[in-house]
């Protein structure tokens, strides 16, 4: 199968939503699943991290974050000039695309695992690092130095938000405990992971189906942007990974990080920091188009790119 079977659950949820099935996962289940996934992904990365010297990651982390900031910087003028979107909307959408989607990353990881393709396990560190910078950039673009920017609220919203707390906390626990220390928890966090991911994707399918009305409002320009932007990000990710001598699997994961658009942390942060931006546009694009595109087409494409462009830099 050219794609990861777990995404069939996403398709099922999408179809159920479109045919207006009475299937509905309660909000608390969505919350519980996302808490589990974030913690499990963090733990897994932390365990891998404990096998490496953390100081060796400082330089690649710096390069990866710096290059990632090119994404919102490039997206913003495209959205504002070509898309003729208001400044706040262009900045908010740019922030969504610069930030990352944890679930897309999880699907890409299981795609690699099911193909036996190894990857640097500490990629999760970059996942955690990439969430915030693009959001700060997006707010800066929206505000352009305006004095009333609520930076404190933004930083609190993101840094104390559940995704950073759980990913960062999981990383730390995994790193401190090491493989042996975490082993008693393996069954809960690692063996059950794929099943939980399947449930979460089912729910995401339902959520996306519910946003299809927003998609019509977003218009053709944003739809095209939502497909081309991740491809450009993916290419940037593969090239950056080559520069840093990552494996093919690592390059594919970095491509997925650069290609993915946030739909959990970014909407919440932009709602607080750039309230005049219309969330229907940014969520319609990032969740309605880019997320399914990455699951179905993007992830295999980034793998193909990573394999074919290995060693070009």
């Amino acid at each position: 199968m050219p794609f990861e079977p777990v995404i069939l659950f996403f398709v099922l949820g999408l179809v159920a939503g479109i045919v207006r099935s009475d299937l509905k996962l309660p909000g608390v289940v969505y919350e519980a699943l996302s808490i589990f996934l974030l913690l499990a992904i963090g733990l897994k990365g932390g365990v891998e991290l404990s096998r490496h010297n953390v100081a060796d990651l400082a330089l690649p982390a710096l390069v990866i974050v710096a290059v990632a900031l090119l994404i919102p910087l490039a997206a913003f003028p495209v959205l504002q000039r070509l898309g003729r979107l208001p400044r706040a909307d262009a900045a908010s959408i740019a922030a969504h695309y610069g930030s990352v989607s944890v679930v897309t990353f999880a699907v890409a990881s299981s795609y690699l695992a099911s193909r036996g393709e190894p990857a640097e396990g500490y990629m999760v560190v970059f996942l955690a690092l990439l969430e915030l910078p693009a959001l700060v950039m997006g707010v800066a673009l929206a505000r352009r130095g305006a004095a009333d920017t609520r930076w404190g609220k933004l930083f609190h919203e993101v840094l104390a938000g559940k995704s950073i707390v759980l990913l960062g906390g999981g990383l730390l626990i995994g790193w401190l405990a090491g493989p042996e220390g975490i082993q008693p928890l393996d069954r809960v966090f690692f063996d059950l992971f794929k099943g939980m991911l399947a449930f979460f994707l089912l729910e995401m399918g339902l959520v996306v189906a519910g946003r299809l009305a927003d998609l019509r409002r977003a218009g053709v320009f944003l739809a095209v942007f939502a497909v081309l932007m991740p491809l450009a990000g993916g290419l940037l990710g593969v090239l950056t990974a080559n520069l840093l001598d990552f494996s093919v699997g690592g390059a594919m994961l970095l491509a997925t990080l650069y290609a993915s658009a946030s739909y959990i942390a970014a909407p919440a942060a932009m709602r607080i920091a750039v309230p005049e931006a219309n969330p229907a546009l940014s969520i319609g694009a990032s969740l309605g188009i880019t997320f399914p595109f990455n699951l179905l087409v993007g992830v295999p494409t980034y793998h193909w790119l990573a394999s074919h462009l290995a060693g070009v830099i």
Binding site: K24, G27, Y30, G210, A268, P279, A280, I283
Partner: protein, 107 residues
């Protein structure tokens, strides 16, 4: 019913769940003695708010208070949030048993 009842205002705010932390801070600042928040779903100017995930979740905030406090809250929230957030507010008269609990802040 033999116990004496007094008139107070019941202010109901239905808005995006993402506003909750700020709203709670404003309520305390404007003199509300307490509030009740419930999760809410529905449809309105901002489309279907089904509460399936954070970005489509609504809350319903109820505040029992005196008239002045209700007016202060309505004015402040309307000025600060109505333009950019999904928000509906309405005020009704209610009869309460212990009116002292629902006065404005002292002073």
């Amino acid at each position: 019913m033999n116990l004496p009842l007094s008139l107070r205002r019941l202010l109901t705010i239905i808005c995006e769940a993402s506003l909750e932390p700020e709203l709670v801070r404003e309520l305390a600042r404007l003199g509300a003695r307490g509030y009740t928040i419930t999760e809410a779903r529905g449809q309105g100017a901002h489309g279907l708010r089904d509460g399936a995930w954070g970005a489509s979740a609504n809350i319903r905030v109820e505040v029992l208070c005196d008239e002045l406090t209700a007016e202060a809250i309505v004015d402040t929230l309307h000025a600060g949030y109505s333009a950019n957030y999904g928000m509906v507010m309405f005020v009704t008269d209610v009869a309460v048993l212990r009116p002292d609990k629902f006065r404005g802040a002292p002073g």
